[in-house]
Amino acid sequence: MCPNTALLSALIDGELPHRFEQHITDHIHGCSICRKEMARFSSLREKLQQDNITQTEITARESRLWRSIEHKMLSRKKHPLLHRSINLPLPALAALCLVMAASMVTAAYHGFAAHTYNFPPDELPSFSTMDELIGYLEQTQRTGIMEMSLPEDPVFLFISQPTLMPEREYRDAKW
């Protein structure tokens, strides 16, 4: 009886236990069907090898990429802070954006000229959702110290580097 063709595929890869291997090789010797299957697997392997990338191509890409990597690594060494990725908890990132957004709102209404307000403001509203907070920022022309507390057990997610973004874009973004 002929072995399962999956075994022949494993035989081509030299992945059969020795005892098995001998047994199947003997069978293939006397069986034209299995010989044909083996020939098919071998020819497929040959085709895949022929389809391989040339050494010239590899060498060209290899040296080009090395220069690029070297350049990137060197510039990274010079400015470690610029390139280091920072892991920020999601709420902190949102808070950071909001603080930026808040200052932009103020700037938009009053320009950058100094306006004085009472700090902290008389009554500091508290918000439980982002929408409320954004709504407040839109309504009020005043700004002040904003206290943002993180959840007790913050979930730390890797997002990306902190980005400066206009308030409008922050509001429209789908978080």
């Binding site: 895949l48 990338i53 290899e62 990429l65 690594m73 990274r76």
Partner: protein, 177 residues
């Protein structure tokens, strides 16, 4: 020799030994030389940015192949998303054709492209183990370790990949969309 020079030399030797393997794997999975190069760059930068080089070349090879595998997977998902969006846009009668990216062809001629096209038409789950076998010269045990599946599973996937691949090539009328 100072520590920096030593580290640099170690990186250089890891790079020159492993680039060909990584590039071949990434190319045969993604089908694009430029994309493969980008993924390799990302993988090596990750490796070089790690605090210390891995003790042996073999460790480095596994580490890097695992990273490239993940990058290939992300790339595959992105490609699928793009394809879906593209199909939505041109659902009616557009024939999805391979986009010419203007990159120089990595493979020599059309016959060779056909094998690569057939390879790309394989489901990702079958393509990755076969590519690791044929182009990274890894045994089933190592492939299983990289992909997080059993050796038996590797055996079956490689077998199924070969069956499908040869049926594609026999038909000779491959329409990869």
């Amino acid at each position: 020799m100072n520590k920096e020079t030593e580290e640099r030399e170690s990186f250089e030797s890891v790079y020159s030994t492993l680039f060909p393997v990584l590039f071949r794997v990434a190319f045969h999975i993604t089908g694009s030389g430029d994309v493969a190069e980008e993924l390799c760059q990302e993988a090596f930068i990750k490796y070089f940015s790690a605090s210390a080089p891995l003790p042996t070349l073999n460790d480095a090879k596994f580490w890097l192949i695992r990273v490239v595998k993940n990058l290939c997977y992300n790339n595959e998902k992105r490609k699928l998303r793009e394809k879906k969006a593209y199909r939505k846009l041109y659902l009616t009668r557009m024939v999805v054709q391979e986009q010419e990216t203007g990159e120089t062809s990595v493979l020599k001629d059309e016959t060779e492209r056909l094998v690569q096209k057939a390879l790309e038409a394989l489901p990702y789950k079958l393509r990755m183990p076969l590519v690791l076998k044929e182009y990274a010269d890894m045994n089933y045990r190592n492939i299983a370790g990289i992909l997080g599946i059993t050796e038996g599973n590797v055996k079956v996937r490689i077998y199924r990949a070969r069956q499908l691949l040869s049926s594609f090539l026999d038909k000779g009328d491959l329409h990869v969309s």
